[in-house]
Amino acid sequence: MITPVTVYVPRDSAARSVGADDVADALVSAAARHGRLIRVVRNGSRGMLWLEPLVEVATPDGRMGYGPIAATDVDGLVAAGLFDGADLPQRLGVVDELPWLAAQNRVTFTRIGITDPLSPDDYLRHGGVVGLVRALQNSPADVVAEVTDSGLRGRGGAGFPAGIKWKTVLDCTDDLKFVCCNADEGDSGTFADRMLMEGDPFLLIEGMTIAAYAVGATEGYIYIRSEYPDAVATTRAAIEIAYGRGWLGDNVLGSPLNFDLHVRVGGGAYICGEETSMLESLEGKRGMVRAKPPIPAIHGLFGKPTVVNNVLTLATVPTVMAHGAQAYQELGVERSRGTQVFQLGGNIKHGGIVETAFGITLGELVDGYGGGTRSGRPVRAVQVGGPLGAYLPRTKFELPMDYEAFAAAGAMVGHGGIVVFDETVDMAAQARFAMEFCAAESCGKCTPCRVGAVRGVEVIDRIAADEHRDENLALLEDLCDVMTEGSLCAMGGLTPMPVRSAITHFPDDFLAGQPIPLHISARTEGQP
C-alpha cells in the first residue's frame, strides 16, 4: 500500500485571505493529475504571515515549507517534485528550523500551525488536556494558587494578575458563577486571539474549564466579535467536539465538575471589549460601561460572580497547570512574567506572531523580527497597544516590552499589538483619527469622552488650519487632561495617549499649514 504524503495548508483566515483555499484545491487536483496520493491537513498558521499561503510537505527530514504559494504555481511545483520536498525556488527549509520561528519561545502558541485545530487526537498527541487533568487532581484553591504563583497577568490590556481575580470569585459563596472569555479583540494591530481561536480552539476551552473548576463556575461564555466569522465557526465546532470527548458538560473527565460553554457573537461595537460593557452585551443590552465597584468578580454577569479574562490569559492556564507555576514564572522580567504574544502589523516586512519572554526591546521586534517596513522606507512611528496606545519614535526602540517600563514611558504594552508606519505617515492625522475613533466608538455614558472626543477633532482641525495654533494646542492639552481625569473607562481615559504621544514625539507634524488629510466619514447608524 502506498502511504499518502501529508501536505499542510493553513485554514487560518489570514492565510485564506490571500488564497489558501485555492491553493488547497489546486494541490488536490494536481495530485490527482500527477497520480500522487496526498492527505491535506488544514492546520493553523505558523504566524509567519508574510509567507502565507505557506504550504508544508511532510518529508523524512521534517516538514518542508514553501511560500508564499499562489494557486497558479501549484501544478508546476508538483511537477517539479513538491511532494518529495524538492529544492524549488519557493522552498524555505524545514519550517521548525527557520530562524524567525526557532528564536521564539512559543508557550501559548506551541501547537498553532502544527496541528489540525479541530482534531482532538492531534490535541492529545501534542500535550493537550494534561493541564486540565492535573487541575482536577488538585483542589480549586491549589489551582488558584498555582495561577497566582505563575505571575500570569491579564493579557487583554490592563495586566491585572489573573490569580487574584480568580481568588475573589472562588471566595464568593453564590451557587451560580460564570467564566467569560473576552474575545472581542477590537484593537487595530492585534490578531493573536483570532489566531488562537482558529488555530488551537481546544486550548481556550481547556483554559476556561480549568478556570471554571478553580472558581466554582458552571457556565461559560466566549464573547467573540462579529468581525471574526471564522473564529466563531471554529470555536463552535471545537465546543461540540469537546462535549463529545467529555471535556465539557456534566462530570468533565469523570470528575464532579459540570461546565457548559457557549459562544456569543458581538454586535460590532469596540466598547464591548471593555469588560463591564461586554457583560451588558451578554445580558442582551446596549454595551454601556458599568461603574466599578462592584467589580465583575463579585457582581458580574447577571449579577453573579464572574471571571472575565482575555483569550490569551485563559489559553495560557493549561500550560501553567501542565508544567507548573515555576516554569512559567522563570520567563520574563520584573513583574512581567512569562511570555507575551506580540503581533507585528501595519507597514512591516515580516508581519506576524512573535511569542517571546517579556523584556525583549521594541527595536528587536520591529527591526529584528519585523525586518523594518514593507515599503522599504524608514520606520517613523510605531503604535503599541492598539488605538489607545502611544505612538513611539525610533528613539524609544530601546524600551523593553514590560508593563511597568512602558507605563513609565507614557505608553502601554496593551494586548501586544505593534503597528509600524513609515516616513510618509502624518502624525497630526493619526492624532485626529484617535479622537475620531473615540467619538465613533464611545458608549456615550460620560461627557468627557462622548463630547470631548468630538471637540478634540475640531481642535486638531483648527491647529492644522493654523487658526490660533498655540492657543489651540493648549486647549487640546486641557481637553486631554479632562478626558484622562473625567472618563469612566479607558476609552475616554486613554484616547489622550496616542494624541499626546503624537504631539510630544512628532511636533513638526503639528506646525502651521500642515494639511491633515484623513477624514473618517461620520457614522449614520448605531450612535447613542
Partner: protein, 152 residues
C-alpha cells in the same frame, strides 16, 4: 416582513440567557436587516419595552434598519491598514463607483462600509467581502472584487 418568522426565531433562542442579541443576529441573518416592524414584535415576545429593543438595535453597528446590497464590502480603516494604504482603497471606491462609505448602490448590487480592524493587520490593507476576509488588497484587486459583485 413575516411576524411569524420573527416569533419562530424568538422561540428558538428564548431558552438562552440574555437572548436579545442572538435573536437580532438571527433576524438579520434571515431577513437581511432588522425591519422596524420587528421591534414591537420582539418587545412583545421578550417582555421588553419598544424603546429597550430599539435602543439595543441602534447601539450596535452591525444591525441595519434597511436591506444591504447583494454584496457587502467592508473596508478596514484601522491604523494597521491605514499604514499600508487603506485610505487609497476608500478613495478608489469613491472614484470608481461613486460611492461613499455606508452607501448602497442604486441598483442594489453593492454596499460599501467601513470597519475598524478585521484581525488581518499583517496582511493589510484588508476588507471583508460578504463575510469573507481579503488581504494584501490594492486598487486593482479591489476593482476585480467589486466588478464581480456587480456582475452577479
Amino acid at each position: 416582513m413575516s411576524t411569524a418568522l420573527v416569533r419562530d426565531i424568538v422561540a428558538t433562542y428564548r431558552g438562552q440567557r440574555g437572548a436579545l442579541l442572538p435573536i437580532l443576529h438571527a433576524v438579520q441573518e434571515a431577513l437581511g436587516y432588522i425591519p422596524p416592524e420587528a421591534i414591537p414584535v420582539l418587545a412583545d415576545e421578550l417582555n421588553l419595552s419598544r424603546a429597550d429593543v430599539h435602543g439595543v438595535v441602534s447601539f450596535y453597528h452591525d444591525f441595519r434598519s434597511a436591506p444591504a446590497g447583494r454584496t457587502t464590502v467592508r473596508i478596514c480603516r484601522g491604523e494597521a491598514c491605514q499604514a499600508v494604504g487603506a485610505e487609497r482603497l476608500v478613495s478608489h471606491v469613491r472614484d470608481a463607483c461613486g460611492m461613499s462609505l455606508g452607501e448602497t448602490s442604486l441598483d442594489g448590487s453593492l454596499t460599501v462600509e467601513q470597519v475598524f480592524c478585521l484581525g488581518n493587520c499583517a496582511l493589510g490593507p484588508a476588507a471583508q467581502v460578504n463575510g469573507r476576509l481579503q488581504g494584501r488588497l490594492d486598487e486593482s484587486r479591489l476593482s476585480a472584487i467589486l466588478d464581480e459583485a456587480v456582475a452577479q
